[in-house]
Amino acid sequence: MTAPASHERVYRALLRLYPKPFRTRFGDELVQLSGDLLREARERRGGRGDVTATWLRLLLDVALTAPAEHLEQRRVAHSLSRPASAATKALGVLGVGGGLILVSAFVFFIPGTFNAIRLVLFNLGAIAIAIAVYRQLPAPAGRAALVLAALVIVANAWHLVMVIVGIGRPQPPQADVDFRLVMFLAGLSMWATDGVFGLIVARLGGLARLGGAALVLGGSAIVGMDRLGLVHQGEDSLASVVALSGVALNGIGWIVLGIVVATRRRPTVSGAAALPSG
């Protein structure tokens, strides 16, 4: 087998600018045609000037047609898909609301009982998104999503119940020796499962990767700093800042995921095979 000519190596590198399905289907022919055009230019009497002009034309051709082909792929994918169902959209909107309410604590001061209600709404939003993500992820990731979604739902539901129980108690959870441990464990499992859940939602691709990364980073920060005892009550330390940033990141992650699941289009049965992957 002979090594590819230098023009072929350069042109193959340029082909990476085209969408992968197009490259796979026509890559070899594009390389062959570019080689033919360069050979023709070398054989003309113009010599190096002709070859340079042909290279410039090849570069301009790639610069014009590669973006157009990306747009075409998007147009085809869009035409072969339909919007998320009304139920999934509603779950996404609920999730965005939950995330916004969690993040709102960093904008407004929310006192006592209202702070607990904030956590209730946040839990409901996270549960809604876990259900929506499970509905959207294909197998086999769907099965893993089912397990993780179930864990997220259980952990958030547990935390939600503890928050509601805490509202009716005479003293705050941190002062209640009996209640403190169960509340701590509910919080630990919630933030930890949120973080792990971030790994699987990245499978949805695109913007979901950002939402998933926010959940992973946010969950890790909260569990690492706050839940494992590096943050002490009333102490203004770097660990406290990191833990609070983790809470904010977690909220942002759920907002992003809510937007993703509410706006994500699903392939039609007949068009599923034609949709570009990734």
Partner: protein
């Protein structure tokens, strides 16, 4: 012989798509032959690059106007990696429609357009 199909009432093809359809014509042609034929029939005014040729061929394949020929020429005479394309019955009908469109355009414009002295 394939039966001629009536072309669907679709908007006119892009100029590049028409060039590729007319360059393939009644033959089976590979990419380089198509670009060379386009250069020839346009008097050198149009020189398409590989990206323009194959993004257009892809659309024509997807629309059923062109298909890939199964037969390969003698391996002694040509590179076996080349793929050859030909017009489908629908592609021929669309090409005929485009040629008629040009004819109408030319007939309507000729009386005045060719009176203008060249500058």
């Amino acid at each position: 012989m394939e039966a001629a199909e009536r072309p669907p009432a679709t908007p006119p093809l892009s100029r590049t798509a028409v060039h590729v359809l007319l360059a393939i014509g009644p033959e089976e042609r590979h990419g380089y032959a198509i670009t060379a034929e386009i250069t020839r029939i346009t008097g050198g005014a149009v020189r398409l690059g590989p990206g323009a040729v194959y993004t257009t061929i892809k659309r024509l394949l997807d629309d059923g106007l062109v298909d890939e020929a199964d037969d390969r020429p003698d391996p002694e005479l040509d590179d076996q990696r080349r793929r050859y394309y030909r017009l489908t019955a629908l592609g021929r009908a669309v090409a005929a429609r485009e040629v008629r469109r040009f004819e109408t355009l030319v007939q309507a414009s000729r009386p005045w357009a060719l009176e203008v002295p060249p500058t």
